[in-house]
């Protein structure tokens, strides 16, 4: 009996060591799959494991957080200040150098001491963990361009350094836009970067706030605004149409503003996945209007109290709803999926069109995975108090939400063929030192300012604006915009690796297309065709399934045992 146990243990050990390279049977994931339909012969409900992919990645989870620039989170990486009483961060040896403030020698003699910044002129300074709750900065399309100052990157306090106060306990100062956190605060992200891979050259496709970022990461394009109610936060594209440069709620969404909404023309990645019967979903905190929160709130007003920002924050933010802007991928009534097995699929198991149309609550992602129905592609937006946006969230609440989900994912059998991307919709306006000359030009007389008044690029003759939805050059897509974090957590991620290849939000779209869709592109002016590849962050020849990293959701520190206890309604 003893020897039999040992033999079994040896086989298990051998199998897990090779699991990433061995073909994995779909039955390996056969939990709770007793609902009586034949997976092998139902083209509409193929298990992601059975779908051809270019890489070993069968499940992609994109956690799209809010409003942090790269330098704001990684200015001194991998070295934290470690003041007494802090959660200390000790870097691994041989951590590669990243392009940050410390390595660029910009912590002192920073160009933002430029007197033009007035009382905000300052060198960058450390934000303590006790200062996690800060003011939000100005992250509008034009001020972000003005801060760049034609590549001098020296006018952040003047143009992006202001915002909401953030509650009585918040930290705020002139020039606060120059503040950065270190591993004593964004501990989990630093730990992920140490164990997996990170880009220090990832950009928003255009300048501006949340909604443009949401659209770039699903559609690679912001041209083709169709106002539904009132006016939109857009500018004339020069071809008789509109390009989105600010936040506007999605049209017809029952939770949207009653005074200003819009839809978008064109397609997004969801359309392509749907056409190929590849399961995918948008999973947003607060999306399920039938749930009741612990505090009794319901419907669009579901809310959660955060002790860090000392406020009660509404979970669902319509202008973050990636897929609600294209009518083809929208679920404006927030209809519920017909069953947990329909999640990710266009049709339910009886062949009827499922009412949810790929839009679900974050709770549904947990439920679907537990039911053995982990979609191929999952876009995640945390409930607002955990989305990372200063004012309504903070790095500590953000960390808790992300760690909880990633701990959970690493415990699943599907983890061996899963990749998680953590990246951001915009920089919030927080200082980042790196300049890149515009690749996507735009020449709106007032909105565009990177290289001078009305100039984002070398001029319309030398560098025409990119083609928009209708195939003609359009304004309002000035970019790359701001540099934001991008971390890949996967058994196939290179370890303690930093990629310097330039990528953007649309690179996520491109990866999905390259992995699942034989490189099909969206067209209609989408940046997926020109975005960099994220493949540099992976090593598909070496899979280390043992390289899991379980973290404490509150402290962000490495834990041995996995904390249970995802909060379910």
């Amino acid at each position: 009996m003893k020897s039999k146990l040992l033999t079994t243990a040896a086989i298990v050990a051998a199998a897990s060591a090779l699991a990433c390279t061995l073909p994995v049977l779909a039955d390996d994931f056969g939990r709770d799959r007793d609902h009586g339909h034949d997976h092998d012969h139902d083209d509409h409900h193929r298990h992601p494991h059975d779908i051809h992919t270019e890489t070993p990645i069968k499940h992609l989870v994109i956690i799209f957080n809010e409003n942090r620039s790269f330098d704001h989170y990684f200015a001194t990486y991998p070295n934290a200040a470690n003041p007494s009483g802090s959660i200390p961060f000790v870097p691994k040896q041989h951590t590669p150098k990243v392009n940050n403030l410390a390595n660029a020698n910009l912590l002192v003699n920073n160009p933002n001491t430029n007197p033009a910044n007035g009382t905000g002129a300052t060198n960058p300074f450390r934000l303590d963990r006790t200062q996690a709750n800060t003011r939000s900065q100005n992250h509008s399309y034009t001020p972000e361009q003005q801060a760049v100052d034609n590549g001098k990157e020296d006018l952040f306090p003047k143009f992006t350094g202001r915002g909401t106060a953030g509650g009585a306990g918040a930290f705020g100062t002139n020039g606060q836009v120059m503040g950065y956190f270190d591993g004593n605060t964004v501990t989990a992200l630093w730990n992920y970067a140490q164990h997996f891979s990170m880009s220090d050259n990832n950009w928003t496709d255009t300048f501006g706030p949340s909604t443009p970022g949401m659209l770039e990461v699903v559609a690679g394009q912001t041209n083709g605004v169709q106002p539904v109610i009132g006016t939109t936060s857009s500018i004339a594209d020069g071809q008789g149409g509109l390009t989105l440069t600010g936040d506007t709620d999605p049209g017809n969404d029952v939770c949207s503003s009653t005074t200003s909404t819009m839809l978008m023309g064109g397609k997004n990645i969801g359309d392509l996945l749907t056409a190929e019967h590849i399961s995918w979903g948008s999973f947003m905190g607060g999306f399920d209007l039938t749930l009741k929160n612990a505090n009794g709130t319901t419907g669009c007003g579901r809310s959660t109290f955060s002790g860090n920002v000392n406020g009660t924050i509404v979970d669902y933010i319509p202008h973050h709803a990636f897929f609600q802007y294209h009518a083809s991928t929208a679920n404006p009534t927030h209809a519920r999926p017909s069953s947990v097995h329909a999640i990710g699929h266009t049709h339910d198991l009886n062949g009827k069109v499922d009412p949810a149309n790929h839009n679900y609550d974050l709770e549904d992602l947990y439920a679907a995975i537990k039911a053995g129905n982990f979609p191929a592609v999952s876009y995640v937006k945390m409930p607002a108090y955990q989305d990372g946006h200063a004012g309504n969230s903070d790095p500590l609440d953000e960390q808790a939400g992300n760690v909880e989900l990633i701990n959970f994912l690493q415990k699943q059998p599907e983890w061996r063929e899963t990749a998680v991307i953590i990246t951001y919709d915009d920089s919030d306006g927080w200082y980042d030192h790196q300049y890149v000359a515009p690749k996507n030009a735009s020449y709106d007389a007032t909105a565009d300012q990177v290289n001078g008044p009305g100039l984002c690029g070398l001029g319309p003759n030398k560098q025409p604006a990119p083609k928009g939805l209708g195939g003609k050059p359009v304004n309002g897509r000035c970019g790359p915009g701001t540099r934001v974090p991008f971390i890949v957590i996967s058994p196939f991620a290179k370890q303690n690796f930093v990629s310097h290849e330039r990528i953007t939000q649309a690179s996520v779209v491109r990866f999905i297309e390259d992995n699942w869709l034989h490189g099909e592109r969206l067209g209609g002016g989408s940046f997926d065709a020109t975005a960099g590849s994220i493949m540099d962050l992976f090593d598909f020849d070496h899979c280390d399934e043992a390289n899991k990293l379980f973290l404490d959701p509150t402290a962000g520190t490495v834990v041995v045992s996995v904390p249970e206890g995802h909060y379910h309604y």
Binding site: F125, R129, G166, A168, G175, S210, D249
Partner: protein, 447 residues
């Protein structure tokens, strides 16, 4: 984006609290059940943890009298930890300046229970996009909306488009960090001199090394940052130190079913919550929030109540001097919003029984005087306001005539008229005061 932030005030639960109370009253007939809350709730108190390095630095600054010109005043001098971080003296205001002989402009507010205080805004709820609306725009929106009457248990408070939030009597600081600098530099208070002088003292303070450790050596060369960090440290001390928000009053324990209120205290609570009587809870929220947070006894909104002028204030010797709260003179950003002239922040009533100066000008010295003001302002104004030489009662004598329309005459008990029956009897007032005394922290629960 800037999401819809709901600073829920729990107005919706007031009805529930009323029901709780009604049941409690009936329970009075049964000796065994006397005074307990028949429907106990669980209160969510702030987590208690060892003070962070930041908070410890803040504590040193909070108690550092060397930052004042007299060398005798620290934050703790006027915000005394032995007096619920309120004034320890008997006068309407505290004295400061180099020789401790200058009157502060207003009664010193308590520093307790400010960590959940919302930022200053003028309703409605700003919405969830990133478009920044300035105060003038907000006020313009506010002017188009009719004011709702606020009653205990009603929804008027959340629907009203009036100023709310912010620190000080006029809301001119949004954060505790911003707030801390005002008394430090005010010539009538700590009289710190200037930012230069304060920064120089901080650089030479015994705790100076903590700045370097937390913020790097550069902070010493950056005066603005040094002061901002120092004031944030003070704020962080207030956020982390439990004695700034202990929620250990008898009423808190009563809510949790761990303490009994006396008959008088229970009657007082009922009157406090009764829209037809004192209606105090119309503004001084008495029910826990939906998130289970203990009530703060303020809706954080602003009211013009027309309290009498305080002749004891030196500023008031000038007959043309008027303290108009939100529209000036200490707050300077929205003087043109004259509809808010005379409005002051509704303060928390927690620990109010420990105070000896009430209202912004400290005109009342006892809770009895305060209750009389609410009770008689409109039915018997002669009991509240002085008479002029011609013996005419000078109602609202601390506000210029043109701002008298700003005074609240709709929320009970201020909806009454001369000759009407006052809202409260003498016994009612005594019972309410008995209840207010249950809001003092430090109650010891009997086993």
């Amino acid at each position: 984006m800037n999401s819809r932030t709901l600073w829920l005030l729990g107005a919706g639960l007031l009805c529930l609290a009323g029901a709780v109370f009604a049941a409690g009253t009936q329970g009075l007939a049964e000796p065994n059940q006397a005074g307990t809350n028949p429907n106990p709730v669980r209160l969510m108190r702030p987590p208690v943890a060892p003070l962070s390095s930041m908070a410890l630095l803040g504590k040193e600054i909070f108690y550092d009298a060397s930052l004042s010109s007299s060398g005798a005043l620290s934050c703790a001098s006027c915000h005394s930890p032995d007096h619920a971080y309120g004034p320890p003296n008997d006068g309407p205001v505290m004295l400061g300046g180099a020789t401790l002989s200058r009157q502060g402009a207003r009664a010193v507010p308590s520093l307790t229970y400010l960590d959940r205080h919302p930022n200053f805004s003028i309703g409605p709820d700003k919405g969830d996009d990133d478009n920044i609306i300035d105060l003038a725009q907000m006020a313009a929106i506010g002017q188009q909306a009719a004011r709702t009457t606020k009653t205990a248990g009603g929804s008027g408070a959340s629907a009203n488009i009036v100023p709310q939030g912010g620190l000080f009597w006029d809301g001119r600081a949004d954060t505790l960090q911003d707030q801390a600098l005002f008394p430090l530099l005010d010539p009538n208070e700590m009289d710190g001199g200037s930012a230069e002088i304060v920064a120089d003292k901080l650089r030479r303070a015994p705790y100076a090394n903590r700045f370097v450790e937390l913020f790097g050596a550069g902070v010493m060369r950056n005066q603005r940052l040094l002061i901002a960090e120092a004031m944030f440290a003070v704020a962080r001390y207030q956020v982390e130190e439990p004695s700034f928000h202990p929620y250990t009053s008898k009423y808190d324990f009563w809510l949790e079913g761990k303490a009994r209120l006396s008959e008088s205290e229970l009657r007082g609570l009922q009157l406090f919550n009764d829209p037809d009587k004192a209606n105090c809870a119309g503004c001084h929220t008495s029910a826990p929030t939906r998130d289970g947070l203990p009530p703060l006894f303020t809706d954080h909104q602003y009211e013009a109540l027309g309290a009498p002028r305080n002749a004891a204030l030196a500023n008031n010797r000038d007959p043309n001097y008027f303290d108009l709260g939100v529209c000036g003179p200490h707050r300077t950003d929205i003087p043109e919003q004259t509809q808010y002239c005379g409005m002051f922040l509704t303060p928390t009533l927690r620990n109010t029984a420990t105070r000896r100066a009430f209202f912004h000008n400290g005109v009342f010295r006892t809770l009895e005087q305060v209750l009389d003001f609410y009770n008689f302002r409109d039915t018997n104004p002669e009991k509240v306001f002085p008479r002029a030489a011609d013996s005419a009662v000078q109602k609202y004598d601390d506000l210029p005539q043109k701002y008298h329309p700003n005074v609240d005459v709709t929320d009970p008990p201020f909806d009454r008229h001369p000759g009407d029956k006052p809202a409260m009897t003498e016994q009612d007032e005594a019972d309410i005061i008995a209840f207010l005394k249950t809001l003092t922290d430090g109650y010891k629960v009997e086993n």
